[in-house]
C-alpha cells in the first residue's frame, strides 16, 4: 500500500544571488513497511528531501501526498498536528528534550495525543524494552551515551505508532557497535510494527540492511534499487 507520493518536487534555495537546487524534480513513492535508504554525497539533497517529506520545509514546486493528504493544502497548525499523528523523526544529533527523562521523552507525543496514563506507560515500557534501555527510564539525556540517546530517539519516533519514520543520518554520530545495535533495533521494529523507515545515510551498514536504496546526486534521483 502506497503511503508517500512525491510528485516532481523541487526545492530551490536563494543563497545571495545564487540559486541552489537542493532537490530537483524528484518523483518517488514509498510503500507501507519499507526500510529504505536515501544515499548520496554531501550536498546531494538527502536531508532536504527528508525535511520536505516530513513537512518541516515547504517545496518550491511539486506535491507531497501522504496517505492521501497533500501537505501543501494543510495550514501551519494542521501540518503540526499531521506530523504528530503520522510521522516519527530521528535526528542525527538525537534532539531529545534535555529537561525530560528517557521515559518522559518517549511518552511526550503520547501526552500530546492525550493517551491515558495506562496506555502511555504500557507503550513506553514496551519501547524502552525494545531498545534495551528499560533500566535507564529515569535518566536524563545528558547522563546517557550517544548510542543510548539515539535509541531513545527511535523509541520516541515510534511511540504513537506513526505511518513512517524519517531518520536523518541516525548513525553518523555513533560508534560502530552502537550503530549496529541501533540498526538491528530499527529493523526489528520495522518488521514487528510494520512501520516504514526512510533513512538518509552515508553509512554502508545502513545501506547494506536497507531493502531499497535511492541514490541522489545534485538533488536528482539517479538510481532507485529495490532488493528482495
Amino acid at each position: 500500500m502506497k503511503i508517500i507520493e512525491i510528485k516532481n518536487v523541487s526545492k530551490i534555495y536563494n543563497e545571495s544571488e545564487v540559486q541552489v537546487n537542493a532537490v530537483n524534480g524528484v518523483t518517488l513513492d514509498f510503500q507501507e513497511a519499507e526500510f529504505a535508504a536515501i544515499v548520496g554525497p554531501s550536498g546531494s539533497g538527502k536531508t532536504t528531501l527528508l525535511n520536505l517529506i516530513g513537512g518541516l520545509d515547504n517545496p518550491t514546486s511539486g506535491e507531497i501526498i501522504i496517505d492521501g493528504t497533500n501537505l501543501a493544502k494543510l495550514k501551519s497548525s494542521e501540518l503540526i498536528d499531521f506530523r504528530m499523528r503520522n510521522i516519527g523523526f530521528v535526528f542525527q544529533a538525537y534532539n531529545l528534550i534535555p529537561v525530560l527523562t528517557a521515559k518522559e521523552n518517549v511518552e511526550f507525543i503520547m501526552n500530546l495525543q492525550s493517551w491515558s496514563k495506562k496506555e502511555r506507560d504500557e507503550r513506553t515500557f514496551e519501547l524502552l524494552k525494545a531498545v534495551g534501555l528499560f533500566e535507564r527510564a529515569n535518566s536524563r539525556p545528558a547522563k546517557m551515551s550517544g548510542g543510548q540517546q539515539q535509541r531513545i530517539a527511535v523509541a520516541r519516533a515510534l511511540a504513537s505508532r506513526p505511518k513512517f519514520v524519517l531518520a536523518d543520518e541516525p548513525t553518523a554520530n555513533l560508534d560502530s557497535k552502537s550503530a549496529s545495535t541501533l540498526l538491528e533495533i530499527m529493523e526489528k521494529l520495522n518488521h514487528e510494527e510494520k512501520i516504514t523507515f526512510i533513512f538518509s545515510t552515508h553509512d554502508a551498514r545502513v545501506v547494506k540492511m536497507a531493502h531499497r536504496v535511492i541514490t541522489l546526486e545534485d538533488g536528482k534521483v539517479v538510481s532507485d534499487d529495490v532488493r528482495e
Binding site: N51, G54, L56, D57, S76, S77, I80, D81, R83, M84, R85, F89, F91, N95, L96, I97, P98, V99, L100, F108, I109, N111, L112, Q113, R140, R156
Partner: protein, 470 residues
C-alpha cells in the same frame, strides 16, 4: 499534562537557568523598592523637619496675611479663639507668633531683618529655637588652647580653617574637624570644654532678642550689645526700639541666618504698636494624618470669627512642595533609569534563554507540539519566574525596609555636612511600607510581561529547519 504543570516542571529541570532569571527579577524588585522607599522616606523626613520646626501642620491667620504678609494684616488674639481651638481633642496647644520686617542697625551698619515675636516657653512645643542657640565657638583663644591640648595633629591642623565659626550642634563641629564617631567620646569632651559658648535665651516682658549668627557677624554684634530696630508699625505708626542681644542662634539656612531676629511676642507687639495682635497662631496637634487635618480645617475653620481662617501645611509650604515635586520628578527619572537597567537585565536573560532553547523549541514543534501550546508554556515559565522573583524581592525588601525605618542610614563626611547645614539630621530614613510597594512590583511585573513577547514572537516566527540546526 496541563501546560501549567509542564511549565513548572521545566523550570526545576533546569535549576541554574531558572535561578539566574529569578535572581534578575529579584534584584530588580529589591533595588526598586529600596530606592523608592529611601526617596519617599527622605521627602517625608524633610517635610517633617520643616513643619515640625517652623510652620506646624495648622495655623490660624488673618485671611489676607498669606498673600500680603504685612503688619496691617494681623488679628486680635482673644481667649475665645484659644478656647475654640483647644476644644478640639487633637490640639494640645496653640503657639502665638508675630512676624514682620524691620531695619536693624548697629553703629553705622544697617540691614533689613525678619522680626519674629515668639512665646519663649511655648515655642519649644513646636520649633526648636532654644536648640539653635550657639553652643560652641572657635575663637582665636579657644584654638590656641586646643592646640596645646592632647588632640591629634590631624584635628589641630583643621582648627585654623574654622577660626571664628560658631556651632549650635556638637555634630557639625565634629564633622568639620574630621573626628570619627569612634574617636568622638575621647576627643569631643576636650573640644567642648574649650569651645563652649555661653548664650542666653529670651523671656517674656524683657526687651531682649536672639539674632542669627550671620546677621550678628554682619552687624559686628555680640552678646550683651544693643540692636536697634526701626520699621513700620500697625496702621502706619512707627516701630522703633533698642534691644539687648541675649543670644545668638545658628539657623540651618543661610538666608534665614542672615536676617532672623527673635524677640518675645509681647515685646514685639509693643514694638509694632499692636498689643494683643498676632500674625499667626500655630497649632500643636497630636495626630497629623491628612484625614485629621482635613477634619480640623473644617470643624475649627467653621468656628473661627471673620477675618480669621485656618491654613494647613501644604498651603504654607507651597514653595517647598513645588521643590519636592520637581525633585520627585528627577527622582522619577532615576527610577526610570533603574527600570531601564532592570528591563535590559531581564530581557538579556530572556534573550539568552530563548537562543539557548532554539533547538529545543524546534524539536518540540517538529514532533507535534502546537506553537500556541509551546508559547503558552514558555509564557507560563516566565510568569512563574516573574512571580518568584517579585515575591522573593518583596519578602527580602520588606524586613530590610522595616529595619531601615527604625535604624535609618546615618550619613557621614561631606554628605552629613550638607544635611546638617540645611538643619536636617544627617539620616536617610526609609518610607514605611505603603502603596509604592505595590506599584514597584506591578512595574517589574509589566517589564517581565513585555519580556515574554520576545520568546513568544520567536516561537511563532520560527523556521523549523533553521531551529533544528541551531
Amino acid at each position: 499534562m496541563k501546560n501549567y504543570k509542564i511549565a513548572w516542571r521545566n523550570l526545576w529541570r533546569n535549576k541554574r537557568r531558572t535561578i539566574i532569571t529569578v535572581a534578575s527579577v529579584f534584584f530588580a524588585v529589591f533595588f526598586a523598592l529600596l530606592m523608592r522607599s529611601l526617596q519617599l522616606g527622605s521627602y517625608d523626613h524633610m517635610f517633617r523637619n520643616v513643619i515640625e520646626s517652623y510652620t506646624g501642620y495648622l495655623q490660624v491667620q488673618n485671611e489676607d496675611f498669606k498673600d500680603n504678609p504685612t503688619v496691617d494684616n494681623v488679628f486680635a488674639f482673644s481667649p475665645e479663639i484659644s478656647e475654640t481651638i483647644l476644644k478640639d481633642k487633637n490640639v494640645s496647644d496653640a503657639v502665638p507668633r508675630f512676624e514682620s520686617f524691620a531695619l536693624a542697625s548697629s553703629g553705622s551698619l544697617t540691614k533689613g531683618v525678619l522680626v519674629m515675636g515668639i512665646d519663649p516657653e511655648k515655642e519649644s512645643l513646636l520649633s526648636n529655637v532654644k536648640e539653635r542657640l550657639v553652643k560652641y565657638k572657635l575663637t582665636e583663644k579657644t584654638i590656641e588652647n586646643l592646640k596645646k591640648s592632647e588632640l591629634p595633629e590631624t584635628v589641630k591642623s583643621k582648627l585654623d580653617l574654622f577660626k571664628g565659626e560658631s556651632y549650635s550642634s556638637g555634630g557639625i563641629l565634629q564633622l568639620d574637624l574630621g573626628i570619627r564617631n569612634a574617636d568622638s567620646s575621647a576627643l569631643m569632651p576636650i573640644i567642648r570644654k574649650e569651645a563652649s559658648f555661653s548664650n542666653g535665651y529670651i523671656s517674656s516682658g524683657n526687651k531682649e532678642v536672639l539674632i542669627g549668627y550671620r546677621l550678628a557677624k554682619y552687624l559686628e554684634l555680640n552678646i550683651g550689645d544693643t540692636l536697634v530696630l526701626i520699621g513700620q508699625g500697625y496702621h502706619g505708626t512707627t516701630a522703633a526700639g533698642k534691644f539687648r542681644i541675649s543670644g545668638i542662634v545658628r539657623m540651618p539656612t543661610s538666608d534665614i541666618d542672615n536676617k532672623i531676629v527673635y524677640l518675645p511676642v509681647d515685646v514685639c507687639q509693643e514694638l509694632y504698636g499692636a498689643p494683643g495682635m498676632l500674625t499667626s497662631l500655630a497649632l500643636c496637634i497630636k495626630d497629623n494624618s491628612d484625614k485629621k487635618i482635613n477634619r480640623m480645617m473644617q470643624s475649627i475653620g467653621k468656628e473661627m470669627p471673620s477675618p480669621l481662617r485656618m491654613i494647613e501645611w501644604r498651603e504654607m509650604n507651597a514653595l517647598l512642595i513645588n521643590q519636592m515635586e520637581s525633585d520627585n520628578k528627577s527622582g522619577g527619572i532615576m527610577i526610570a533609569i533603574l527600570y531601564l537597567v532592570i528591563a535590559f537585565g531581564i530581557f538579556g536573560t530572556v534573550l539568552m534563554m530563548t537562543i539557548e532553547r532554539k533547538r529545543e523549541f524546534g524539536v518540540l514543534v517538529a514532533i507535534g507540539m502546537q506553537k500556541s501550546k509551546l508559547a503558552a508554556i514558555v509564557s507560563l515559565e516566565m510568569i512563574y519566574i516573574g512571580l518568584l522573583g517579585i515575591l522573593s524581592g518583596i519578602a527580602v525588601a520588606f524586613p530590610a525596609i522595616i529595619i531601615g525605618q527604625y535604624n535609618p542610614i546615618r550619613l557621614a563626611g561631606e554628605y552629613a555636612k550638607v544635611y546638617e547645614s540645611y538643619g536636617m539630621e544627617p539620616v536617610m530614613p526609609f518610607m514605611p511600607v505603603d502603596y509604592y510597594f505595590l506599584w514597584q512590583s506591578v512595574i517589574v511585573a509589566l517589564i517581565v510581561g513585555i519580556a515574554i513577547i520576545y520568546p513568544v514572537r520567536k516561537i511563532y516566527k520560527m523556521q523549523l529547519v533553521n531551529s533544528l540546526k541551531a
